[in-house]
Amino acid sequence: MKTLLMGTAVLAVTASTAFAAGHSVVRLGTEGAYPPYNYLDDAGEVAGFERELGDELCARAEMTCEWVTNDWDSIIPNLVSGNYDAIIAGMSITDEREEVVDFTQNYTPPSPSAYVAMSEDADIAGGVIAAQTGTIQAAHVAESGATLLEYPTPDETIAAVMSGEADAVMADKDFLIPLVEENSGMVFVGDDVPLGGGIGMAFRESDPEMREAFDSAIQTMKDDGTLNEMIVKWLGEDSPRF
C-alpha cells in the first residue's frame, strides 16, 4: 500500500513537471483569413481581434504563446493530434464541436450571422447561398432549404457573390460589416440570424488544466471590462458586448 501511494505521488509529481515543461510554450492555432477576428497583416503576421485577445490572455495566464496558421478544414484534426495546443479562430461553440474538443467560456456573446448580396431582392430562402465549409452558417443554410455552395476560405465566399456564382453569402455579421462598408454594391439582405453560443477557444479534451487557465483569464477580462473594450475596438460599437 505504501509503495502504491509513493508510486502515485511520484507519478503525480512527474506528470505535473511534464505538464509545466511541455506547456511553457502554448501554440495557438488560427486561420488568418477572417478579418476582423484574425487575418495576416502586411508583414505577414497574425493580427486582429483574436491576436490582441490571445496575447492578452497569454500574458494573464503567464504563458508564452506562439501563433500558428492552419487551414480551416483541418483545424480541429490538427489540434487533437497535437500540432498546436489551442484553436482561437472565430470558432463558435456548438454541441457538434463539443463532442471532439473542449471550449472555454465564450469570449464574444452569441453574435448574429447575416446574409449579404449584391442587391436587396436576392432570394435568400431558395437561392444559392455561399458559406465557408464546416461553419455553423453552412449548416444553417443547408437546413434552410436554400442551395448551399461551400468554399474552403471566407474570401472565396465573398468572391462567389461578386462574380454572381452565388446569390448571397452567409457569415458572421462582424466579418461582413467592413466588407459592406467598403463595397458600395453589397447590401445586407433579410434579418440577422442568431447562431451558435458565441465564440470560444478550443482545447483538447485531455488538456483540462490549460483550458482552465485560459478560461479564468477570459473571466478576468470580462470582469475588468477589457474584453468589452477590445470588442468595441475590433468588432465595432454595434457588436453585442458582455
Binding site: 505538464f19 488568418g32 476582423p36 505577414g44 465573398i158 468572391a159 462598408e181
Partner: protein, 293 residues
C-alpha cells in the same frame, strides 16, 4: 529605396515597389524557394524509393517481392489527396508513438482518449517548446517523405518496366561471361535501364512540379497559398495597401512561373535523354550512331 511609411500618399511605380516588398510578399518569395527546395530533395528521394521498390518487386525472395509489389499497388491505387490528408497525420502519430514507447515506458494513461492522441511531453515531435522554425522544418520533412513515398511508387513501376525492357540478349551475354546475378544487375541492367525509364520519369517530374500546391494540405504555406492570400480583396481597415480581387493576376504569375519551370525541365530532360541514348540498342541510339558516322 522608397519611403514606404505612408503608402496611401504614394502612387504608380513607387506604390507598386512598396507593395511588392511588404513582409507578406517576402513570404511569397521565400515560399518559391521552399517549393524549389522541396523538389530538389523529393526528386532524388522518390527515385531512391522507386529504385528500392522496383528492385524488391523483381526480387527472387518471395516476401521481398510481395512487399515491393504491395507498395506499388497500394500507393498507386489510393488518391493522392486522401493519402496526403490521412498519411501525414498517421505518419506523425506513428513517429510520436515510437518515441513515446521508447522515452516514457512508465506512462500508464491510454494514448488514445476519445479523439485525442496523447503522448508524453518528451515524445512530442517536435517538442512543444521548440521554436516555430523547428516545427516548420519538421513539417517540411514530413512533406518530403510523403511526396517521396507517393511518387516513389510511381517511379518504382516505371523502373520495374524499364528493367524488363533491357534486351534479354544483354543479360544472356553477361551470364555467358560468368557474371554473378548481382554483377549482372549492377553492371549491365542498371546502366542500360535509364534510357527506358526516362520518358516515364520525366512525366513523373512534371506531375511532381504541379503537385507542389498539395503542400498546403500538409500545413506548409506554399506559393499558391500566398498567391490566394495576397490576391484576395483587401479592405483599408486591415491593410495599408487596399485593393480589389487581384487573384487573377497572382495566379497568372503562378502560371508563368510553372510554365517557365516545366519548359526549363523539358530542355534539361532532353539533354539527359541524348546523353543516355549514346551507344544504346534503341532507335534513337542507332540514329545518333549514324549521324556521327
Amino acid at each position: 529605396m522608397f519611403d514606404c511609411t505612408d503608402p496611401s500618399q504614394l502612387s504608380g511605380l513607387s506604390w507598386l515597389m512598396c507593395y511588392l516588398t511588404t513582409g507578406k510578399h517576402l513570404s511569397l518569395y521565400i515560399s518559391v524557394g521552399t517549393v524549389l527546395l522541396l523538389l530538389a530533395i523529393t526528386a532524388p528521394t522518390a527515385l531512391l524509393f522507386g529504385f528500392g521498390g522496383a528492385s524488391a518487386a523483381r526480387s527472387r525472395i518471395p516476401p521481398l517481392r510481395w512487399i515491393g509489389k504491395g507498395y506499388i499497388a497500394v500507393v498507386r491505387g489510393v488518391p493522392d489527396i486522401a493519402f496526403f490528408l490521412f498519411f501525414v497525420i498517421a505518419l506523425d502519430q506513428a513517429f510520436e508513438w515510437l518515441r513515446h514507447k521508447w522515452k516514457c515506458p512508465d506512462w500508464s494513461e491510454p494514448i488514445r482518449q476519445g479523439s485525442d492522441f496523447i503522448v508524453c511531453a518528451e515524445a512530442k515531435l517536435p517538442l512543444g517548446t521548440a521554436p516555430q522554425w523547428v516545427h516548420e522544418t519538421y513539417g517540411f520533412f514530413v512533406a518530403v517523405l510523403t511526396f517521396a513515398i507517393v511518387f516513389g511508387a510511381f517511379a518504382a513501376n516505371v523502373l520495374y518496366g524499364a528493367m524488363r525492357a533491357v534486351p534479354r540478349a544483354q543479360i544472356e551475354t553477361a551470364e555467358a561471361y560468368g557474371l554473378s546475378p548481382r554483377q549482372t544487375f549492377w553492371r549491365i541492367l542498371v546502366p542500360q535501364m535509364w534510357v527506358f525509364a526516362l520518358p516515364g520519369l520525366s512525366n513523373l517530374w512534371m506531375v511532381l512540379i504541379k503537385a507542389t500546391p498539395l503542400l498546403f494540405l500538409l500545413g506548409i504555406e506554399d506559393i499558391v497559398y500566398w498567391a490566394r492570400e495576397l490576391g484576395s480583396a483587401k479592405t483599408p481597415r486591415f491593410t495599408d495597401y487596399p485593393h480589389g480581387d487581384w487573384r487573377m493576376w497572382y495566379f497568372l504569375a503562378l502560371l508563368i512561373f510553372y510554365l517557365a519551370f516545366t519548359r526549363v525541365s523539358e530542355i534539361v530532360l532532353d539533354r539527359i535523354m541524348g546523353r543516355l541514348t549514346r551507344g544504346q540498342a534503341t532507335l534513337a541510339g542507332e540514329a545518333q550512331r549514324k549521324a556521327a558516322a
